[in-house]
Symmetry: C2
Subunit: 153 residues, 2 copies
Amino acid sequence: MKLSVRGEYALRALQVLAQHAGDAVVPMQTIATEQNIPRRFLEQILHGLKAAGVVESRRGITGGYRLARPASEIPLATIIRHVDGALAPLSCVSHQFYEKCSCPDEARCALRSVMKEVRDTVAAMMERMTLADLVERAESLRARPMEPVDFVI
Amino acid sequence: MKLSVRGEYALRALQVLAQHAGDAVVPMQTIATEQNIPRRFLEQILHGLKAAGVVESRRGITGGYRLARPASEIPLATIIRHVDGALAPLSCVSHQFYEKCSCPDEARCALRSVMKEVRDTVAAMMERMTLADLVERAESLRARPMEPVDFVI
DNA sequence: TAAAACTACACCAAGTCAATAGAGATTTGA
DNA sequence: TCAAATCTCTATTGACTTGGTGTAGTTTTA
């Protein structure tokens, strides 16, 4: 049920791009440093996201990456699907990555029925949440004072 | 975000045991045949579930497996955690399999905050749903007539 | 024209996954 | 007692995935 490191890096990198929404482009090195992601690995990931149409790039010394659309129009679901594939716990309940499973009658498979609910719930959450929400949340977390528990010795 | 085949087999196998709740034990071969699971692979899985205290076994020619507790007291979460590990998309939001992640300040990590909500939602669903519910659902699906869409040529 | 950035593709080590193998230990019925 | 059917335990295997490097470019601008 886990996100891969690749998926996590992708989300973190895109959060950075969303935060620098004003700038023309953000150089890859900036993202790598800010999020502590191996530069060459990040390269691969961003390259993939460009092929997927999520980001745009500019080459040369003033080059870098930026979001291809406003952050508010890029749901986390889109990113995860491009990098890690299905959101569903079983591929037989996935919409975008459906694969027939081994049970004789999908329509009457209890496990499938349960996992479909899980998929629908997770997918709804991930579709609703966009990169803009991620930035907004980062800001409100930054503003918020330390949790009381953190003051305990 | 996927369940492994191992996890799927475990859930299917335990559903069978829950369905045969009256019987003393169910031989492994019966489960393997009923759910089309490779016998030797199932062996490993059930062995693990026994070590985890989920099932009990009996050896010899009249041997087999049965649930160690009533089906209504075995949530799907327990099984998945034993077989596949964390339910959380990031290990830094896992309760049972927590691992520190690379970000500098967990308390203010936006991604972590979002993924924590996903984890809590999924965990709640999986905790609430037990093997007894799975059996019940299987019965209601068996009773239900074909979906209208299935009649379309 | 050199530096800094992106592009493209190949490669690799380590680990995981799904499954199989083999040699037992138990239990019961004949 | 013995044979058959079952669980027990540990190893191993082959394919694939994951996370990450390497090398050799191309593009752009100071």
